[in-house]
């Protein structure tokens, strides 16, 4: 019924390939038994159901492929992965390569600091050492903030998020800049989450979406339709609450990250706009 190359491929293979992340809490990560779980994967489950119905396949096989930040776009382009269910930011540059669903989440870069550090605002970071993760877009943000607001902090670049977080924890860096939800995940997983707090400042908004091949309007329509219906029915908010405001595996901690104004707005009016 729907004219879509992706669906045609899924139908002829009898299988759908889902790309997932390994440590992107709570969107997409490996659960206690090393199987992928997460918010985005729950959303994708509904999409899989719909595809099953659409293609009329009685048994649709679901293959999971781990992806990372550098290979997720190429894998979508080559058709190795039909849909990425991760925590991928939608932006103009990426839209030239791939397509995104309507926004499923809104985040913004923030500062995470130690509670006992006495830091209250970004202004207090003057002359301090702050950490960002190599290759993250926070590197550019931090440099920009530093230049624009004349803060004069030293920037260290750690190899990955875990090391950035460790730098913060061991006192090597006074603050860690990253997307708020990512920081919330790291904070929740920390042995003592209360020892860390966010500074009030937040910077530009970043919209996350599910990612799939560019130009397949039929497939995009299907995905957006599934998500919009969930948003309209309140199912979306239930799923959100399950992952963001209740204890989740592997360690049963609570991200305590209630619905933001921006996301509520998008739930009311589903959209894939990026600003």
């Amino acid at each position: 019924a729907v004219d879509s190359p992706t669906l045609a491929r899924i139908k002829s293979n009898g299988a759908i390939t889902i790309g997932h992340r390994e440590a992107s809490i709570p969107f997409s990560y490996l659960g206690p038994d090393q199987k992928p779980i997460g918010f985005s994967l729950d959303l994708c489950a509904a999409i899989v159901e719909r595809i099953k119905a659409e293609t009329g396949l009685t048994s649709l096989k679901v293959n999971y492929v781990p992806v990372n930040s550098s290979n997720r776009i190429p894998l979508i382009q080559s058709g190795t992965v039909d849909i990425e269910c991760g925590g991928t930011a939608n932006d103009r540059k990426r839209q030239e390569q791939v397509s995104f669903s309507v926004a499923t989440f809104v985040s913004q870069p923030r500062w995470l600091v130690k509670a006992d550090s006495g830091l209250k605002t970004a202004g207090d970071l003057k002359g301090k050492t702050i950490v960002v993760t190599q290759g993250s877009n926070a590197v550019g943000f931090a440099q920009g903030v530093n230049a624009k607001e004349q803060l004069g902090f030293n920037i260290v670049q750690a190899k990955d998020h875990a090391e950035s977080f460790l730098m913060l924890n061991t006192g090597r860096a006074a603050a860690f800049m990253e997307d708020d939800i990512l920081l919330a995940g790291l904070k929740a997983a920390a042995p003592n989450p209360d020892a860390l707090i966010f500074l009030p400042e937040g910077y530009a908004k970043i919209y996350y979406g599910l990612m799939f091949t560019k130009g397949d309007t039929g497939f995009k329509a299907l995905v957006d339709d599934v998500l919009s219906k969930q948003m309209a029915s309140g199912q979306f908010e239930k799923t959100y609450a399950k992952w963001f405001t209740r204890p989740i595996p592997p360690k049963n901690e609570n991200l305590a990250f209630p619905l933001t104004v921006e996301l509520t707005e998008r739930i009311a009016h589903p959209s894939d706009a990026v600003d």
Partner: protein
């Protein structure tokens, strides 16, 4: 193609300044790391060959540990774990060293000690490759153990291993790139940062590659110069040596030094 390097960056410099500062850190790390590595390596290498069991075992332990853990992991241990196991005051003092020095010193110690383990093996191989007769001749002349090492064994062993030391020199300067994992913005890290800031991947990595090639060439030529300067007259290939006719009969079938290793 390299025009982008002259453009302004977000922090008001030009991209080429990033590269130059990266090169500076790379060079500083390689140069000072080398002297640490050489000094420690020669001592440990000698330690591997002495009669005293305890010393030899210690030297061996050193080599086993430092040679068998990836540099990447060692970097991490020096940077993150060391300050935690030191007395709190000292640990905090270390953590308060501002960047980039806070990354530089751990990287320096890490590379120096890692490379030292490898040099120690070369030195040991060099010493073991010397004909037994040399030590015997020295003993027969009444030279003590110390004098034998000082005047007979070490000078010859070091000359013997110059070619493999060349690869260690190349190795240490290339391993400096691993320091990017603890946040030192050396050459490779800068290239990567430029590539992410400008999306000019080929330019960024191309420029860094050319710089590394030039450095390799310099290191190689330098070592060749040293090799020539300390070469023993009469042992060069096809020099003015008179080939003693009998020696080619008693030469070993394989004169490849045992632990001659090619390193990256």
């Amino acid at each position: 193609m390299f025009a982008v390097l002259l453009e302004q960056t977000a922090d008001g410099q030009r991209y080429i300044d990033w590269l130059v500062s990266g090169l500076g850190w790379t060079l500083a790390l390689a140069f000072f790391g080398w002297w640490i590595a050489f000094a420690v390596g020669v001592v440990v290498g000698i330690g591997r060959t002495v009669q005293n069991r305890a010393v030899a075992a210690l030297a061996r332990l050193y080599v086993e540990i430092f040679r068998n853990i990836p540099v990447l992991v060692q970097m991490f241990l020096w940077y993150f774990v060391l300050p935690e196991i030191l007395p709190v005051a000292l640990g905090n003092a270390i953590k308060q060293i501002p960047p980039p020095w806070g990354s530089f010193f751990p990287a320096l110690v890490c590379l120096g000690l890692y490379t030292a383990a490898r040099i120690a093996e070369q030195v040991r191989a060099g010493i073991e490759a010397l004909p037994k007769g040399q030590v015997e001749a020295a003993s027969a002349l009444g030279l003590s153990g110390y004098l034998t090492y000082r005047h007979v064994i070490v000078p010859q062993a070091l000359r013997l291993i110059i070619p493999s030391l060349t690869s260690e020199v190349m190795g240490i300067y290339k391993n400096t790139s691993v320091a990017l994992t603890i946040g030192l913005m050396e050459l490779t890290a800068q290239a990567r940062q430029i590539s992410e800031a400008t999306f000019q991947t080929f330019t960024a990595f191309g420029a860094a590659t050319l710089v590394y090639l030039a450095l390799a060439l310099i290191a190689y030529q330098g070592m060749a110069l040293i090799d020539r300067a300390v070469r023993i007259p009469g042992t060069g290939r096809g020099e003015d040596a008179i080939e003693p006719a009998a020696t080619h009969a008693i030469q070993p079938i394989d004169s490849l030094p045992d632990a001659m290793e090619v390193v990256k």
